[in-house]
């Protein structure tokens, strides 16, 4: 993975980490059948934090953030999101899902709906927002991700980078307090990675709480306030980005960084 240069000044004035806890994970364990995929995860995320989760493939980083909105079920331990505990109660799960936005590696836009309909669907059906208001809000966020002119097209007519920006806008339309990114740039051409990263940076500048699984170390260095390194289903190391990249402690982290940064 190359380290893509971020050629802009990042406005840090609103990147404030508050004392309020957004996500709290205690002693969480998860198995796929007999395979112990997440092992004793403990993590507290405060409101306004920008966390990058890195690690080799198969280390459980995607599984971890997919547990946070119950796309995956955990078997032991507790997860509290915004004060609501993730349990088997469907009402809690739906509540958390509507508060937590998620962006996927393969966008997962709905190909049978236009861009605008993709963005208004959940606000109209889940939040019961009036259609007109939902459309106005959708256009607002589409302008924010810089593709308002594509509103009436279908996802299949857009480039990968545009689709991913629509996916981000679609999540934002639900006014989430937390955004999860599951390798948002891994399926994109290099030219398009930048436009998606720019959108994510803007989001960070507005103070959004973000958890990103990504291999974009430039983003981690400049935007994140904390980098978490996972291997074999556990959190191996976490630190501020400067320390993490310049002074990694564990041997595993050093090896990983030397491989992806190509030293």
């Amino acid at each position: 993975m190359s380290e893509l240069a971020i050629d802009r000044q990042i406005d840090r004035s609103k990147m404030q980490v508050s004392d309020e806890v957004a996500i709290e994970i205690n002693n969480m364990n998860k198995w796929y059948g007999a395979f112990h995929v997440l092992r004793d995860i403990n993590l507290t995320v405060n409101q306004g934090e920008r966390i990058v989760i890195a690690g080799p493939s198969g280390s459980g980083k995607s599984t971890l953030i997919r547990c946070l909105n119950a796309l995956e079920e955990h078997q032991q331990g507790t997860i509290m999101v915004d004060g609501t505990e993730l349990s088997n109660d469907l009402k809690n799960i739906d509540k958390i899902r509507s508060e937590v936005g998620m962006v996927f590696q393969h966008f997962n836009l709905f190909p049978h709906l236009t861009i605008l309909e993709n963005c208004t669907l959940a606000p109209i059906w889940v939040r019961k927002t009036p259609r007109k208001e939902a459309e106005e809000r959708a256009m607002h966020f589409l302008e924010k991700v810089k593709i308002p002119e594509q509103a009436d097209k279908y996802p299949g007519q857009l480039s990968g980078g545009q689709q991913q920006r629509v996916a981000i806008a679609r999540s934002l339309c639900m006014m989430p307090r937390i955004m999860l990114f599951d390798e948002p740039t891994s399926a994109l051409d290099p030219e398009m990675i930048k436009e998606v990263l720019d959108t994510m940076i803007e989001l960070a500048e507005e103070g959004m709480t973000m958890l990103c699984v990504t291999h974009e170390m430039g983003f981690a260095r400049q935007v994140a306030n904390r980098v978490i390194f996972m291997d074999a289903g556990q959190i191996v190391e976490q630190n501020e980005p400067e320390e993490f990249f310049n002074n990694p402690q564990s041997e595993r982290t050093k090896l990983f960084l030397s491989q992806i940064l190509g030293h």
């Binding site: 909105n69 119950a70 796309l71 469907l90 739906d94 509540k95 899902r97 509507s98 937590v100 936005g101 998620m102 996927f104 393969h106 966008f107 997962n108 836009l109 709905f110 190909p111 049978h112 669907l121 959940a122 059906w125 889940v126 279908y154 996802p155 299949g156 007519q157 679609r170 999540s171 639900m174």
Partner: protein, 434 residues
């Protein structure tokens, strides 16, 4: 070593393709004579087409349209062409077409099935061409299931009204119960209330209302139904009802609830494992053994139920194929936005799964529509049954081709329309690159 460095100073403009690639000549070269083997195939095919048409066209068009019997037909042919061979006797169709279309339906009431057909087309319009037809017409679509039996069988108007009331009562009970208790119990109570209404209370209601306010039209018995009308009636009901049942079965088969899942699997596998003819014999003969003596369970209704169940089992498998073709990401996308199960199914999953399944669904529709001719085996006078009946008449004894050609043409028109509509629909729902 030569110098490998190269820099293009100006970009190449677009040029017109060579003449051999475009226009009619290009088309013929590409599609008919692109090599010696393809050229031979083209010539052989052209000869085969000529051979078939040279037989069929004279038979079809050098034909007799007015005669009272097959013998008279043959006399006219001898007089005109000096041979009875190679000429159609369409006089039989001219003589009996009304019967082939309507069976023994009373001729002064023909307007009723015709009106039912016209209303069917109007009721289908907002469903089939949703973007061109005002959605208000959907009211007619909703009323049509109750209008159809009233027009076809006639009798008191309170019957269909009572049937519709059953749905209203079920819905009412559901809305009250789901607010007071819970959604699932609401559904169960609503269904139970509707069933109680239909099975127990509805007959008293119809009787009472009929004695107070007797409104109705002349009743027609089921045994008078027949002809192509019967095929359309059975086909429309089987097609219209089997699609929703098929969707429910397909979802049930994918359900996490084990009992629901295995009930659906059992139903689908049983129905698909049994020939339709067997089911029809069960409907016509065996059911009478199980029902209490004296029950009047209409034969056409029984056949409708069997054909619907048969078609629904196939439909469920076709739709399951569509569901399986959807990437997991679509479910996750819907979940991550907080849509609940039914919203996700209705708004995200089903529209796409059904779109993928369109060719299979329409094939099943066409199949079940053509299978309606099997009812002639259990003694209903559909077109095939009537063709035999017409041959039993001494005037037309021995005539085969013309009757079957006519029946074939009737079915072809309907099936071909369905097929073309499905292609139109696929094009319309295409949302990828244009």
């Amino acid at each position: 070593m030569s110098d490998v460095s190269f820099v293009r100073t100006e970009m190449l403009p677009e040029q017109a393709p060579p003449a051999s690639e475009v226009g009619p000549i290009g088309w013929i070269r590409h599609n008919l004579f692109s090599g010696w083997f393809n050229s031979i195939l083209t010539l052989v095919s052209l000869y085969a087409i000529y051979y078939v048409l040279s037989g069929v066209l004279p038979w079809t068009f050098q034909s007799v349209w007015n005669a009272d019997s097959l013998n008279q037909c043959r006399e006219i042919m001898m007089a005109k062409w000096g041979s009875t061979h190679g000429h159609a006797c369409w006089a039989v169709i001219n003589d009996r077409w009304l019967q082939l279309l309507f069976g023994f339906y009373p001729s002064h009431l023909y307007w009723r099935p015709i009106l039912a057909l016209v209303l069917l087309l109007i009721a289908l319009a907002p469903v089939l061409y949703s973007e061109r037809v005002p959605t208000k017409l959907l009211i007619l679509t909703a009323a049509y299931p109750f209008l159809l039996p009233f027009l076809m069988w006639g009798g008191t108007i309170w019957g269909p009204i009572s049937a519709a009331l059953g749905f209203v009562i079920g819905w009412g009970v559901y809305t009250v119960a789901s607010k007071q208790i819970s959604g699932l119990i609401g559904i169960i109570l609503g269904v139970v209330a509707s069933i109680i209404w239909w099975l127990v209370l509805s007959s008293y209601f119809v009787g009472a209302m009929d004695s107070i306010l007797p409104i109705g039209i002349e009743a027609v018995q089921s045994r008078q139904f027949g002809g192509f009308m019967l095929a359309i009636l059975l086909g429309v009901v089987a097609i219209g009802v089997s699609l929703p049942i098929g969707i429910v079965l397909a979802l049930g088969r994918q359900s996490d609830l084990l009992i629901v899942k295995y009930l659906c699997v059992g139903f689908i596998e049983f129905i698909r494992g049994v020939p339709l003819i067997t089911l029809l014999f069960v409907a016509s003969l065996l059911l009478n053994l199980f029902l209490p003596p004296g029950t009047n369970f209409d034969i056409i209704l029984r056949v409708m139920i069997m054909m619907t169940l048969f078609s629904a089992a196939y439909m469920a498998e076709v739709i399951r194929g569509g569901l399986a073709a959807l990437p997991r990401g679509q479910y996750e996308g819907a979940d991550s936005l907080g849509l609940n199960y039914w919203q996700a199914q209705r708004l995200i999953i089903m529209p796409q799964a059904l779109k993928i399944s369109i060719p299979g669904i329409v094939s099943t529709f066409i199949g079940i529509f053509k299978d309606t001719v099997l009812v002639s085996i259990i003694g209903l006078f559909d077109v095939i049954g009537l063709a035999s009946a017409i041959r039993a008449d001494t005037a037309w004894n021995g005539i085969y081709w013309e009757l079957f050609a006519f029946i074939g043409a009737l079915f072809f028109v309907v099936c071909f329309s369905m097929s073309r509509y499905s292609m139109y629909l696929e094009r319309k729902l295409q949302t990828g690159h244009h």
